[in-house]
């Protein structure tokens, strides 16, 4: 019983992180029909920047909370700038090009960012300095750390904020209008270049937070971490229904749970043949399954009937 509860907890934590990243994929897709494969790299940059700042400040005598806050602010700022620049430099010139061109460009941007990160931060794994409180809490015979609680709460807060932004504000309305019909949105006075930039910037800010969360959760960061994380978050977005905000949240949480539970029981299920390090295969089973049986995702509509 307690392994089940434990894996649910782990799954929720992982799922919250996937959801934050999946939102970035889904927002960009919703606004411009583009799968921004470089988004995973933005998460990685967020993790790296945060980690560097923490390393720098770890002996400064500042309170841990302040150090984390500064690291987060730095990561968010850098990621926003990176996200903005990606769109401005790589995607905007291809706005009217056939769909394949920006897609290939996205993969190219992803490779470039990975290599830049390798040049800046090296090939080595960077350990997350052990500054976070390690207190554990018991619930239902399983344990949850303060860090895990914080991850889930912060993710939930940010997602709520995003949903309020999109559904309750003038800017959010403009984003939805642009997503539904860009030329008509322009007729209403919406500057869609601004809206698209804003979408990238917001998605990148979420990615920065997710980056700090992953590196804190696994106590490690490296230049390659964005690749697998990006693929999984993309899977989560597709699972929920790409382009759909609530879908990204749902898909992220579900994927986290599937992975955790899968990893927890895979040994038993295969008679010890596969171990929990096969965790990653679940995401791809999910991706393939969704693409075959429900390409529009769990709560997605048929991919938009766009003029």
């Amino acid at each position: 019983m307690d392994i089940f509860i434990q894996q649910i907890i782990n799954g929720l934590v992982l799922g919250s992180i996937y959801a934050l990243v999946a939102l970035g994929y889904t927002m960009v897709y919703g606004i411009m029909g583009l799968i921004n494969f470089a988004h995973g790299e933005v998460v990685m940059i967020g993790a790296m920047v945060a980690l560097m700042v923490i390393k720098l400040l770890v002996n400064s005598g500042l309170p841990v909370f302040i150090i984390i806050l500064i690291a987060l602010a730095a990561a968010v700022a850098v990621c926003m700038a990176v996200g903005y620049s990606i769109e401005r430099i790589a995607y905007r010139p291809l706005r009217r090009a056939p769909k394949l061109a920006p897609l290939i460009t996205a993969i190219g941007v992803s490779i470039i960012l990975q290599n830049l990160a390798m040049l800046v931060w090296g090939r080595n794994y960077h350990a997350f300095p052990p500054i976070l409180p390690t207190s554990e809490h018991d619930i239902f015979g399983a344990t949850i750390t303060s860090l895990q609680v914080a991850i889930v709460l912060i993710a939930a807060l940010m997602m709520t904020g995003l949903i309020i932004l999109i559904h309750r504000t003038r800017l959010g309305r403009a984003m939805r209008a642009t997503s539904e019909n860009p030329p008509i949105a322009q007729l209403m006075g919406v500057n869609i270049n601004q809206i698209i930039s804003f979408t990238f910037v917001i998605g990148s800010a979420l990615a920065a937070v997710a980056g700090l969360m992953v590196s804190a959760n696994y106590s490690i960061a490296h230049y390659y971490m964005g690749f697998m994380l990006g693929l999984k978050a993309f899977t989560a977005a597709v699972l929920g229904g790409i382009g759909n905000i609530a879908g990204a949240v749902l898909g992220g949480i579900l994927l986290g749970l599937i992975e955790s539970l899968g990893a927890g029981y895979i040994g038993d299920l295969t008679g010890g043949f596969l171990g929990s390090h096969y965790q990653d295969i679940f995401a791809f089973f999910v991706l393939i399954g969704v693409l075959i049986f429900r390409p529009s995702g769990l709560i997605g509509e048929k991919v938009s009937e766009r003029a």
């Binding site: 003038r170 309305r173 209008a177 539904e180 030329p183 008509i184 322009q186 007729l187 209403m188 006075g189």
Partner: protein
């Protein structure tokens, strides 16, 4: 108010609008009529900057507007009700109207104007929280017109408001268009339904294969044998 000179629109090599010249005076309702494919929609899209004109000039209140960005037109006071309505299907009626007022920041004015739109189209008021995509064609057309009015335009461009609607609905919509015009709005009305358009307008232009072939007062066009034969089915 609007002066279009030698406007040309081309799709690739194909010329859809071949150097047309026309004008709309302040406070006037002008009809632009023509058969399918005559180039009416292309003309309006070029005016609204959704298409780049291949040539010609568009002056509005004395200012050249043919190089503006599409999102800048609304603050100049030009609103287009596009062919096929173009409502935002996954937004409610209220949200669609708020999008129409996107360029404005005067909360009280916006509230007053949406009340005005609801008084013009009581049908919309009853369904204010309904998603636009679930409205009937006629209701969507009402919403599209209402949304355009929300920007408090000085010049209203209408592209085939009668398209695909039952006669009774067409009548209702045209009554509102007439009301709006009587309140002082300048209107350029594009229609295939020539009779209807000319009956509510002061002047008209007839467009054929990308060119304006005839222009006159609306009443005279209605009486013109050529127009009667070609567009009124007589």
């Amino acid at each position: 108010m609007l002066e279009v000179t030698g406007l040309r629109v081309a799709y690739g090599g194909i010329q859809a609008v071949r150097g047309i010249t026309f004008h709309v005076n302040q406070g006037e309702m002008v009809a632009l009529i023509g058969a399918n494919g005559a180039g009416k929609t292309s003309t309006l899209k070029a005016l609204a900057r959704l298409l780049n004109a291949a040539g010609g000039s568009v002056r509005y209140c004395g200012k050249e507007i043919s190089r503006l960005e599409p999102h800048q037109l609304i603050s100049e006071g030009i609103a287009l009700v596009p062919e096929g309505r173009g409502v935002f299907p996954r937004m409610s009626i209220v949200e669609n109207l708020l999008m129409g007022a996107y360029s404005r920041h005067d909360k009280d004015g916006i509230a007053a104007d949406s009340a005005h739109v609801f008084s013009l189209f009581p049908r919309l008021k009853e369904r204010s929280q309904q998603l636009a995509g679930t409205l009937s064609g006629g209701e969507q057309q009402m919403l599209a017109i209402g949304r355009a009015l929300m920007s408090r335009p000085k010049l209203l461009l209408l592209d085939e408001p009668s398209m695909g609607l039952a006669p009774l609905m067409v009548q209702k919509i045209f009554e509102v268009i007439r009301t709006v015009a009587d309140e002082g709005m300048t209107v350029l009305l594009v229609e295939q339904n020539a009779k209807l358009a000319l009956e509510v307008s002061q002047r008209g232009y007839v467009m054929e294969s990308g060119e304006i072939t005839l222009t006159d007062e609306a009443a005279k066009l209605l009486a013109n044998p050529k127009v009667r034969e070609a567009y009124l089915g007589e």
